[in-house]
């Protein structure tokens, strides 16, 4: 494997830079995926049949908490990548751990929120609006949950193998994924919750 020392570790081999580019293309596919889910939601948003509407259901408190957690975790994963570029393995691991913990808290709040909705009689089966809400939020939440498992896997590899071109590459790609989830959340926050609360 030819290593190009003039580039950051995560880009240093041809395979690595291909992987990063490939992941950008994959994120290119995630955009129509979420765009479709948003479209479905917008089509369904006023079709709440006999069930509750968004303004009756949403509460700003937990949502602000979720937003704070996810946005901050996007910052800490950035710090992890920064530490990685300086070769500080320990700091990097700490920042990754903080990122994942905040992600975990986010998922926890979301699950709690889902339980509250269902408890109030707002289920996936109630109306077109709720079906699309649960599937949109659920898809995002599933991405975050998957990210948690993925992140743990990368942390184990970092811990065992140190910062190598391979692990650096994985961490960097993971950070792209994590930032992307953040962007999607900003849309959910604005167009689902804030708009729904109005």
């Amino acid at each position: 494997m030819k290593i190009d020392a003039s580039k950051p570790l995560e880009y240093s081999t041809e395979e690595n830079s291909n992987k990063i580019f490939g992941f950008w293309v994959f994120l290119g596919a995630e955009i129509p995926l979420f765009a479709t889910l948003f479209t479905v939601y917008f089509v369904m948003v006023n079709r709440y049949a006999s069930g509750p509407s968004g303004s009756e259901l949403f509460e700003i408190g937990p949502v602000l908490m979720e937003t704070f957690l996810l946005l901050t975790s996007s910052f800490t994963i950035g710090l992890a990548v920064h530490a990685m570029r300086h070769g500080y393995k320990k700091a990097m691991m700490v920042f990754m751990a903080i990122t994942l913990l905040m992600g975990l808290a986010f998922v926890g709040i979301e699950i709690d929120e889902f339980f509250t909705y269902v408890h109030e009689g707002a289920t996936l089966q109630t109306s077109g609006f709720l079906s699309s809400l649960f599937v949109l939020l659920g898809t995002h939440g599933l991405h975050v949950s998957f990210g948690l498992l993925w992140g743990i896997g990368i942390m184990i590899q970092l811990w065992k193998r140190g910062i190598t071109p391979a692990t650096a590459n994985k961490t960097f790609i993971f950070s792209l994924f994590w930032h992307f989830l953040d962007v999607v959340w900003i849309f959910i926050f604005s167009f689902v919750y804030l708009k729904g609360l109005m």
Binding site: E30, T36, M44, A49
Partner: protein, 649 residues
Amino acid sequence: MDLDKFKVHGEPLIYGAMVSIALATIGIIVGLTYFKKWRYLWREWLTTVDHKKIGVMYILAALLMLFRGGVDAMMMRLQTAAPEMKFLDAQHYNEVFTTHGLIMILFMAMPFIIGLMNVIIPLQIGARDVAFPRLNAVSFWLFFFGAMLLNISFVIGGSPDAGWSAYFPLASIEFSPTVGNNYYSLALQISGIGTLITGVNFIVTILKMRAPGMTLMKMPMFTWSVLITNIIIVFAFPVLTVALALMMFDRLFGSQFFTMANGGMDMLWANLFWVWGHPEVYIVILPAFGIYSEIIATFSKKNLYGYTSMVFSMLIISLLSFLVWAHHFYTMGQGAMVNSFFSITTMAIAVPTGVKIFNWLFTLRKGRISFTTPMLYTLAFIPIFTIGGVTGVMLAMASADYQYHNTMFLVAHFHYVLIPGAVFAVIAGFYYWFPKVFGFRLNERLGKHSFWWIVISFNVTFFPLFFLGLMGMTRRMYTYSEETGFGPLNMLSFVGAVGLAIGFVLLVYNIYWSTRYMPRDETNDPWDGRTLEWATHSPMPVYNFAIVPKVKTRDALWSAKHENIPLYDDKTITKIHMPSNTGKPFILGVIFFFLGFFLVFSMWIPAIVSGIGVIIMLAFMSFDQDSGYYISVDEVKATEKKLMRGETV
């Protein structure tokens, strides 16, 4: 758990299929054991990450599916051959036309094209492999097991029966209570994920791994068409992913996306389906345009006329393909403005397509044309596809479409587009590139016999359908009375279908015959080719090129042969890095198959176990540290020497 759900009742045909599937499986197992080929199969094929072998497996699977879909087609034509036919009942007929459409588009045309691009693209751009060889294996196995999942539906639980477009509310649990449409959503989902991964893989391969000197505008036309196709895949397939997921939620978990009550909206499905579905048409047709461009240039001994306009017309087609989806349902009440918009965008596609047709004709002009089998298919394609295109413009006119909609006219139109536009192309590409992969040509005489059977019978089969449509015969009608007068033309169409079947059987016989008797090719370049794939040996070594060529002109090999522009600046061989084989993609595919199967029957606990299995496999793949191996310089030199002597390695 309810065992009754697995059973499909009452049809001798289905029992026949069960017996034949069981016998074929036993036959394969016994055969592999008897000839001691298990190890060979596992080592050389199931665990391979070599793009050539993956491509060959795609093509084999596609050929198998061609016959499965073809049998469906024969059954339909037989059922409608005469009035009041008693061959199939209504439910069975519904299942047959649904699986015919699904299999032919998603499990025959697309994999055949993906197979050809797997084999050829890395060679054509002078690369040693695709960007992500292991992911490529994952793609293949997901496609393969998705296809198998759909295929077992015929004997376990029942096939989907709401048409290949699965319109709601017809496809909902209320109106289609069998598990058929569960199979639809899950089988397509699994293979669709595989296709999406292929899309990512090939975009990176083409953009990042071209031989030095090959700028975008020096790429061979097939590579261009594949690049554009994969961009369409990456933007269109996520929509299908969502649509299928929503379908699954509606059918398995009782959500209200497409229901008739509780705020559901059945038209949402039609929109989502066709936002993916129309670009899908171009996913199968654009690579075909690429294949034809290569073949026409090679067998006219001229460079392709209007290269730049070819590229731009494909780009425009790809863009427009996303702007026409509502022309599939003009008659479903969307108002004059919407219909006009989609009518205009649809007709606009005819312009860049026409540009391409003229470019091919100008390439032929004053060329030294040789009428080989691939060239015959290409020449037949041009007029037949034009008929398909013209009838397409007829359908594109929204007001006129109220007359043709859902009639056999439409069926005739899209067969006139898709069969020359995709099937002829993959067969032509198959004949054209076969010697590259196996080192010998297919027999030309048998090839031409098969060609004439296919081309003539194709017209006999589908041309009468235009008239049947204009007479008012709707599609998906399982029987009709004698007074309608549909009988004679339908009978003619059935005769054509038999001819088509003979043509395809001859094609397979040709493969068998040529494997046994055709002389092995010594030149590596049997057609006097123009592009890089012919610059290496046939069959090629695992590393494709011992020395990576330097590209200076568009038809690099042609320039090297006829204009003295050398392909290599420097002939030193260096060690070559290759990825090592892995069984994990295959195992992942198997687990996905079980996940899909358990979900189809709502068997939650085994489904959850399989889901966890998927995650464990992904973790295994992530932790894998195998970074491949090197082929030493001596080894490369020894292999090259052997290949020069005409031995296989």
